[in-house]
């Protein structure tokens, strides 16, 4: 006789559990404080990647947070806020394999390796749609830009630079190659200046 309401309550509880489960899983990335997006913000003021997994020497523990890093790969992050302007990641293709991936909070939306380098240099510009339109309008006719221009799905995110040390003797070179990458904010006037000069 009393089983009916009890079963109804249990059923309602299970349905609610499903809703809570889905809502929690969807909310975790948004409210996480230890995720890569939040931790990468520490690199906002730097003009080179913040090394989060080095191969030589001991990195400060708050900067080496990767749970399962590849022991042969040096990793650095650059965070960006496109409200300040497009972010330019400039790397020189060296002897070691280098890859750059661009992440928003949801995940990676673009990646390329040093095989895409033009004349030994890799220039990746992350921008909003409006900034891309502006850059296209400022392009000098007949001149080919070697920038790889990416429209970001969100205003904030981070770029990850990975350099692989295939041999232990290349570890110092790999760390230096990550440090040598430049992450700078493109001022809107710069592309036209470059085009004229």
């Amino acid at each position: 006789m009393s089983r009916g309401p009890f079963l109804l309550a249990t059923g309602a509880g299970l349905v609610l559990a499903g809703l809570v489960h889905v809502a929690t899983v969807l909310a975790i990335p948004r409210f996480a404080e230890g995720d890569a997006f939040s931790r990468a913000q520490a690199s906002e003021t730097l003009d080179h990647p913040l090394r989060i997994h080095g191969l030589t020497g001991e990195a400060p523990p708050q900067e080496s947070w990767l749970p399962n890093p590849d022991p042969a790969v040096s990793v650095g992050v650059c965070s960006y806020d496109l409200d300040d302007g497009p972010m330019r990641v400039s790397a020189q293709a060296g002897s070691l394999m280098l890859s750059v991936s661009v992440h928003a909070r949801r995940g990676a939306f673009y990646a390329l390796t040093d095989q895409a380098a033009v004349r030994g240099g890799l220039d990746l510009v992350v921008m909003t749609r409006a900034q891309l339109d502006e850059a296209l309008a400022n392009d000098v006719a007949g001149e080919v830009t070697r920038d790889v221009r990416i429209v970001a799905p969100a205003r904030r995110g981070f770029a990850v630079v990975r350099v692989i040390a295939a041999l232990p003797s290349q570890r110092a070179v790999a760390d230096a190659a990550v440090q040598a990458v430049a992450c700078t904010i493109d001022s809107p006037a710069e592309p036209t200046e470059d085009g004229k000069g």
Binding site: S2, P5, F6, L8, A9, T10, A12, G13, L14, V15, L16, A17, G18, L19, V20, H21, A23, T24, V25, L26, I28, P29, A32, G34, D35, A36, F37, R39, W65, L66, P67, N68, D70, P71, A72, V73, V75, V77, M97, S99, S101, H103, A104, R106, G107, A108, F109, Y110, A111, L112, T113, Q115, P153, V160, R162, I164, A165, A166, L167
Partner: protein, 225 residues
């Protein structure tokens, strides 16, 4: 459980003779209301606790699903992608991990050998064969928890490997010293996991086309004790 309380309360209220019917009705109303409230509280508590515990269980540790099994290996091409499933994103957010993007490379993991037995730190395994096309790959072995002392080697890169004349290789994962490519066990006992990371590989975009033979076989050679 809910029906016992009104019975007990009713007996206690019957002692004052005249007011008993009214008081009894009032009490019955109150108890049936409190029983209803109790059921609602029970449903809310069940939903909240079960939902939170299951969400915590699903997002702590590894990815609950989304991998592509290839033999004893599991490929995770989408773990870091923009269109990754919500569970993978929650797992990454909790761990602070930055998985490889599709254009960068791909992660493959193995927790069992080719006959399905969990990789054990007291056993010796032979990894042999070929790897899918990639500019570089690394093989890493990890145990659970922190090691008492850092292992002298926990990974191989594709450049470091000694190869046969035909380009094939064999890596011996063992607690004992082995000739050739010896990868020491990171722990004295317990389960271990292998991670094969392919860098700059074309197969990340077409994992389903990978054959079992295109990945190293994991064969148990023997076990101590």
């Amino acid at each position: 459980m809910d029906m016992q309380t009104p019975a007990g309360a009713g007996q206690g209220a019957e002692t004052p003779a005249r007011r008993a019917p009214r008081l009894g009705a009032l009490l019955r109303g109150a108890t049936s209301r409190s029983a209803r409230v109790g059921l609602v509280v029970y449903a809310l508590a069940l939903g909240g606790v079960l939902g939170l515990v299951s969400a915590d269980y699903a997002t702590s540790g590894g990815y609950p699903f989304g991998g592509t099994p290839i033999g004893s290996w599991t490929a995770w091409p989408k773990a870091g992608a923009f269109d990754a499933d919500p569970y993978a994103r929650a797992v990454n957010a909790r761990a602070g991990d930055i998985p490889l993007a599709v254009g960068e490379g791909m992660l493959l993991t193995a927790a069992a050998d080719d006959s399905g037995r969990t990789l054990d730190a007291t056993c010796t395994y032979k990894l042999s064969g070929i790897t899918p096309p990639a500019r570089a790959w690394t093989l890493t072995v990890t145990g659970r928890g922190k090691a008492e002392q850092a292992p002298m080697r926990d990974n191989f890169t594709s450049t470091e490997i000694l190869r046969d004349a035909d380009g094939q290789f064999a890596i011996l994962l063992s607690p004992e010293v082995q000739p050739g490519n010896w990868l020491p066990m990171p722990r004295p006992r317990g389960p271990v996991r292998l991670a094969l990371r392919l860098y700059d590989t074309p197969v990340a975009a077409s994992v389903s086309s990978l054959e079992r033979d295109s990945l190293p076989a994991i064969e148990r050679v023997g076990c101590a004790r």
